[in-house]
């Protein structure tokens, strides 16, 4: 096993553990902290793929801004008052369904022969990345920003009261 593989399996294990922590802890603040762990580990995968820029963005935006936003929302909405809100008697059934789903996916993934060529990992220059993002993938990129705009409008509509009319 090469050292890249060792690092990969370590990072992958941390990602999975972090993700499990998000869904398994009863305390939402702990969930948010586990989310940071999972997102930072994903940044590690990006570094392994020589995509430093993506790794930095991942840490700055997901590990930093997004999780802090989540923590702020928890603080402002006092979500700690109802830690059991997302639990119910269907928990065993959900676990069963999710387990079956997992087994099925793993079986299908193992029994398929994934084609896909293996290529040498090369560092993608910023210029090429910018061209890809703003030329070839301009439509999804712009629509993604529209999604954010719509979400922003929605947040205003839902958060503001009807007073003043």
């Amino acid at each position: 096993m090469s050292y890249e593989e060792v690092i990969f399996y370590f990072v992958a294990a941390v990602t999975v553990l972090g993700a499990l922590g998000v869904v398994l802890t009863r305390n939402v603040v702990h969930s948010a902290l586990f989310l940071i762990l999972a997102l930072l580990a994903v940044a590690g995968v990006f570094i392994l793929l020589s995509a430093e820029f993506l790794a930095i963005v991942q840490i700055l935006i997901y590990g930093g801004a997004v999780t802090i936003l989540i923590l702020f929302v928890m603080m402002l909405t006092r979500v700690r008052d109802m830690p059991q809100a997302l639990d119910g008697p269907q928990r065993p059934f959900a676990a069963l369904a999710a387990g079956a789903f997992l087994v099925l996916s793993v079986l299908a993934a193992l029994s398929s022969d994934w084609p896909g060529e293996t290529r040498e990992i090369t560092v993608v220059p910023f210029r090429e990345m910018g061209e890809a993002l703003f030329r070839d993938w301009a439509v999804p990129f712009e629509v993604a920003s529209l999604v954010l705009l719509v979400a922003l409008i929605g947040a205003i509509v839902l958060a503001r009261g009807e007073e003043g009319e």
Partner: protein
């Protein structure tokens, strides 16, 4: 410029959404003097946007400006243009029906902007040929709709919004998972290239491909509101503001079918996999029709009843998808049957919901029992609702009759006689609960003699829908030709 030009119908909607939001700020600055004009003017702006979008699409056809745009992300063909008209028309009727409904709401501008953004997302869903663009378009449509469902902010509407958001997010994730599998198998996000690789594959990726297919059906099945992905429908349809329910039941459902046809016919159209998904769709069609209709029988609330009826109708559309892969020459027949049915369904269901808006806002109840004697209080509204319900049942001379004949005929020709029989039996069951409403309106004694007068805009929307479905019922050939032209894209 070609790219921008072909993207015009979506672009003009988004531009108008921005204009509406900015104009609303202008009104806020202008003070209370101009307040009286604000609501009608914003509605007029939104209507202008949809009209401009329809005209732009028509011009694209007139000048033969079809083709790809933005380096192969978008393909404006007859299929995409068919849905441009369908979505922009639906949005226009929904906006007309909303003007009176929003009389006391503070966020009129945001409401119209969200409707327009959602419509643009639906159009994009029908025209993009790349998985990543499909996903962001799906989210644009979805997020706008989550907010619109919760727009009234009372208990019912908020609950509906939350349910729709949670289930919608899960279904998006499942669809994305399916897309990831497709990408893993083929190494491309372009539907054309995926189709090419899939048709050349010789079995070693088969189990992953089947799994991808199942995930995609589950993810988009939520949008199409078919059994077993229909759990959200009754609660969300009941809790959402009624114009939004109308938009959901027509626009969102049609968008689901559009993207499913685009993906399954382009990327998974190869015979080795298409026979699999055709079987899945045939089974889901039978279950959706039967379960939707039987549950609709016992509903007391008309919005819930129309919700279950829309599940059953979606099951009928699925017959067309099941036909597509049954035999090669049937490809056109099945696709064009779905498209034609979607066109007639848009008029029919919009008409039915508009009548519900008009009647329910007056009598203050969505209960079918309270619709007693509506015919005496408002003969025209009762007549309009009756025509829509007859069309949903599939009785001539309405559009629904021709659509059902078309779909069942397609099923018989593709040797799916059992499915056609299930469909016909279901139509009989459906007739019972549709006609029960009609009977209740005409024979029962009204609770009060006060007449029900729909507003001017609502009346206009109603007239458009009812006239539309009667015209299609009597002269179906223009819509038939349009659906056949759109289906030929996959031929």
């Amino acid at each position: 410029m070609d790219s921008v030009n072909r993207f015009g119908p979506e672009l003009i909607l988004l531009a108008m959404a921005a204009v509406i939001i900015l104009a609303d700020i202008g009104w806020a600055l202008a003070g209370t003097g101009a307040e009286r004009m604000r609501r009608p003017a914003l509605g007029a702006l939104a209507l202008t946007g949809t009209a401009a979008s329809i005209i732009w699409s028509a011009l694209l056809i007139a000048f033969d400006e079809q083709g790809e745009a933005f380096s192969g992300m978008i393909r404006v063909d007859d299929f995409a243009l068919f849905f441009n008209f369908l979505f922009a028309g639906t949005a226009a009727i929904v906006i007309l029906a909303s003007i009176d409904f929003l009389r006391r709401n503070r966020f009129v501008a945001e409401y119209y902007a969200l409707i327009l953004a959602s419509t643009a997302g639906m159009m994009l869903l029908a025209s993009t040929i790349d998985l990543i663009a499909i996903f962001v378009a799906l989210e644009l449509t979805g997020i706008s709709l989550y907010i619109l469902v919760a727009f009234m902010k009372d208990g019912r509407s908020s609950e509906a919004g939350l349910k729709y958001l949670l289930l919608g997010a899960i279904s998006s994730a499942v669809a994305l998972y399916g897309m990831a599998y497709l990408f893993g198998i083929t190494g491309s996000t372009s539907l054309d290239e995926i189709g090419l690789v899939v048709s050349e594959a010789n079995g070693e990726t088969r189990s992953a491909l089947v799994l991808a297919m199942v995930f995609l059906i589950a993810g988009f099945g939520f949008k199409m509101a078919i059994v077993p992905f229909q759990m959200w429908v009754p609660d969300v349809y009941e809790g959402a503001p009624t114009p939004v329910t109308a938009f959901l039941s027509v626009g969102s459902k049609a968008a689901g079918f559009a993207v499913v046809m685009r993906i399954f016919l382009t990327a998974l159209g190869d015979g080795s996999i298409s026979s699999d998904w055709a079987t899945v769709f045939a089974i889901l069609a039978a279950i959706s029709m039967s379960l939707g209709n039987i549950t609709a029988l016992v509903q007391g609330n008309i919005k819930r009843m129309l919700g279950y009826s829309s599940i059953a109708q979606a099951g009928t559309f699925l017959i067309g998808l099941a036909v597509v892969a049954a035999a090669d020459p049937q490809l056109l027949l099945g696709t064009s049957a779905v498209l034609f049915f979607l066109g007639t369904y848009a008029f029919t269901n919009l008409g039915a919901f508009i009548a519900v808006i008009a009647i329910s806002s007056k009598i203050g109840s969505d209960q079918i029992a309270d619709y007693a004697g509506v015919a005496k209080r408002s003969p025209l509204l009762a007549l309009g609702l009756t025509i829509c319900l007859l069309s949903l049942t599939g009785i001539p001379p309405t559009a629904g009759f021709i659509a059902k004949v078309y779909v069942f005929n397609a099923a018989v020709q593709a040797d799916l006689v059992w499915l056609a029989i299930v469909g016909v039996l279901n139509s009989v069951v459906a007739a019972y609960y549709y006609l029960r409403v009609v009977l209740n309106m005409y024979t029962a004694e009204p609770a009060s003699e006060e007449s029900i007068q729909p507003g001017y805009y609502l009346g206009l929307a109603m007239v458009v829908a009812v006239v539309g479905l009667l015209v299609i019922g009597i002269f179906p050939s223009p819509l038939l030709e349009a659906s056949e032209a759109a289906a030929r894209v996959f031929g």
